[in-house]
Symmetry: C2
């Protein structure tokens, strides 16, 4: 490659989050970096896009600074669409999203704004990786996550991510010396057991807070949850073809066309 | 089954949309029906859930009316979580979502609130189907969609939807006599070519409207887009295991653990 790769950085915790600062440090030595990230936290936004409202974008880096940064009023998926179509003057060679404050392993991939940004880039044909650390605190320690993130990004640039595949990377909340390595995994079959906290507002009207417990019913040792619980960084290759190809034959036996 | 099946109805266009009224008519003869749907349109919400805000639920049907209806301040996925955990007194046997005003075929499944509700039910282990009509108008004619939706729901109840699979059903905007039948399909590989409409607000600040053109690069004759373009109702079995299983071996050849 004659030019340095152009790397688009985004996230869902917002452009001021420590996690995106850590990710910028990871990729800065590896290419030209442009940041386009939400101006406020967007956790749990899934793959939302803004179609019934306006989008504002503001350049927040100073003229001539090493890294261009833009803050956007939209969702993570909006940020990627805007970056590719309006902000960047060439197609990025890689999109990295995160480092999220909190897990996006297993079924969390479905609700994740971090992964929706990476998947949006993948849909646009741009190699993409989402990174998450299993620590919700704003003061989380990203030291070991940064070390392993760099390894993964270097491999992605050198080897190339397979077409139409996005990497979902999660880091256990451990110091580097206690992390056993990086494992390629499948998504564990798990879900959230919701517990709605029901309250009454001052006007006597009921309302709810969504809370819940993560329940893993998957006993496999090849899952992301198993890897994380055993001290490994998990890497799940993710696709946006949601077709359950294995069911097509079975459904063809239904009486749909009598 | 001794009891009539309990059928949960939801959507993303909001509880007052003509599409959800059409779907209620479809399922009313087939079971006991409870409606829990957003109080306002939620299109493009993807799989968003409300974690940083409160949720309000209001019973809007009158005491003793044939069908219980609840309007919810959250997203389609919130509606399903609330219905299952707080509103319904037994687990639903089926969840149907829609009928959406507009296509959720191909890549639209990723951005779809209609499908996120159905997928949320699927994650909870409840058989689920999302329905969409290829007509964005509020005054869309749901006559033929209703006819084919009934066939599909009856088959789903009789045959059973495979575990961890959700049906994504799209209806062409045609009268019943011009619809050739129902086809089981795979999701077409297509995407949106974004065109951001850039404007200036009265204070001189730039803003954008997201618009775009749907581009299908998939020439397959087994896709949902092909079926719809040729006068068929498309049914895509959808899964929430996003793992690209076919890539795991290739990624294991990367130098991640030197």
């Amino acid at each position: 490659m004659s030019k340095r790769p152009l790397i688009l950085v985004t996230n869902d915790d917002g452009i001021t989050a420590p996690g995106v600062r850590a990710l910028i440090e990871v990729v800065k030595p590896l290419g030209d970096v442009v940041v386009v990230a939400p101006d406020s936290p967007q956790s749990g936004m899934g793959h939302a896009i803004t179609i019934n409202s306006t989008l504002f974008v503001e350049k927040i880096s100073e003229e001539g600074s090493e890294i261009e940064e833009y803050s956007c009023s939209g969702t993570p998926a909006d940020c990627v669409k805007l970056a590719i179509n309006e902000i960047l003057n060439r197609r990025p060679d890689l999109c990295v999203s995160g480092i999220n404050h909190g897990s996006n392993a297993s079924i969390n991939v479905i609700y994740s704004g971090t992964m929706s940004a990476a998947i949006e880039a993948g849909i646009e044909g741009i190699p993409a990786i989402g990174f998450s650390l299993l620590d919700y605190n704003w003061s989380a320690d990203f030291t070991s996550a940064k070390y392993f993130a760099r390894k993964i990004v270097e491999n992605a640039i050198n080897e190339g991510i397979p077409d139409d595949v996005i990497l979902n990377v999660n880091f256990p909340n451990l110091p580097e010396k206690d992390i056993k390595g990086i494992k390629i995994c499948r998504q564990a079959r798990a879900n959230w057991k919701e517990e709605f906290d029901k309250r009454q507002n001052p006007m006597g009207k009921d309302y709810y807070w969504l809370t819940g417990k993560f329940v893993n019913m998957d006993k496999g040792q090849d899952t992301d949850i198993y890897a994380l619980q055993n001290g490994y960084v998990s890497v799940v290759p993710v696709q946006f073809d949601l077709t359950a190809h294995h069911c097509i034959q079975q459904l063809n036996s239904w009486n749909l066309n009598d």
